[in-house]
Assembly symmetry: C2
Amino acid sequence: MAVKERMDYIKKQLHSQSYKLTPQREATVEVLLENEEDHLSAEDVYLLVKDKAPEIGLATVYRTLELLNELEIVDKINFGDGVSRYDLRKEGANHSHHHLVCIQCGDVSEIEEDLLGEVEVKVEREWQFKIKDHRLTFHGVCSKCQRDKDSTNEEVGRQTVDQL
Amino acid sequence: MAVKERMDYIKKQLHSQSYKLTPQREATVEVLLENEEDHLSAEDVYLLVKDKAPEIGLATVYRTLELLNELEIVDKINFGDGVSRYDLRKEGANHSHHHLVCIQCGDVSEIEEDLLGEVEVKVEREWQFKIKDHRLTFHGVCSKCQRDKDSTNEEVGRQTVDQL
DNA sequence: TATGAAAACGATAATGATTATCGTTTAGTA
DNA sequence: TACTAAACGATAATCATTATCGTTTTCATA
């Protein structure tokens, strides 16, 4: 299965940079591989890892996630909810991972599609900026909340800023 | 000048939502208008406002910035450096304000150009997501650091992840 | 396989940004 | 001018993250 190969790849990365492979690091990576679709916080990871390795400390989880971020194995992202979240990078070169954050229900969904190909070319050319990565997040109203709002007929009271 | 008009617009916004206009709020908005090009943290704003209104408290600055964010007068943004930063929104509807963050020197520069027109149309159509705002940040190497690196001839030792 | 140094660990204290509390003051209305 | 809700300043509390430190473990080498 692909999970084992990705684990091996990550182990190789650690080794090639002279970092040691510890049970704590292995368990942390396992948790990340098993929860790819979620955006786990350090606390989330800590609680999940404790099932595999109950003696692990929270500080070690933070240290490991920071290390994996430096190795570009995970992305440390921020949705503005007060905690950092950590996403395992997908294999493959093009890192196209965007987010839709609903400003009503708070749900976060993902788009796995390269939306920025031409945009990146333009930015690199016009600003002489060598792009290594990007973060694209849309804030708005998800389809579910749009439907819920429609059935409430009319929104009253609050005048929107767009009106001027 | 446009500054006065924008101040009046903001005052009108406050009033229309039944918020009170206090000297502290007025001074805070003045500071934001006078430092539009910077990405000020709450602490930055606090220090600048103290020149105009020495008796202001840090908590009031946080409260005011939070209020202005709710009124969509400022954007609360996060560059991952541990503090929230607050940018006054430009007048006009299309909010096109992107960032280039250099991963070597840490400098942040801005692009004031609508890069996402077609992309937003596509996202709204394909995901039934009503976009209200977006955040686009590129991480990479700025032109200055590219030049500095070129003159250092060769980078040695650290193998890049891209090699596998 | 034993050993030793550097790296990593767990526990927990420290930090630092942000938020909550609370008694006092003020803006805006009648 | 008087009243009441809103806002204020000071500061304590919170909470995510980082630093510290004494102990344990990994892994290259003997």
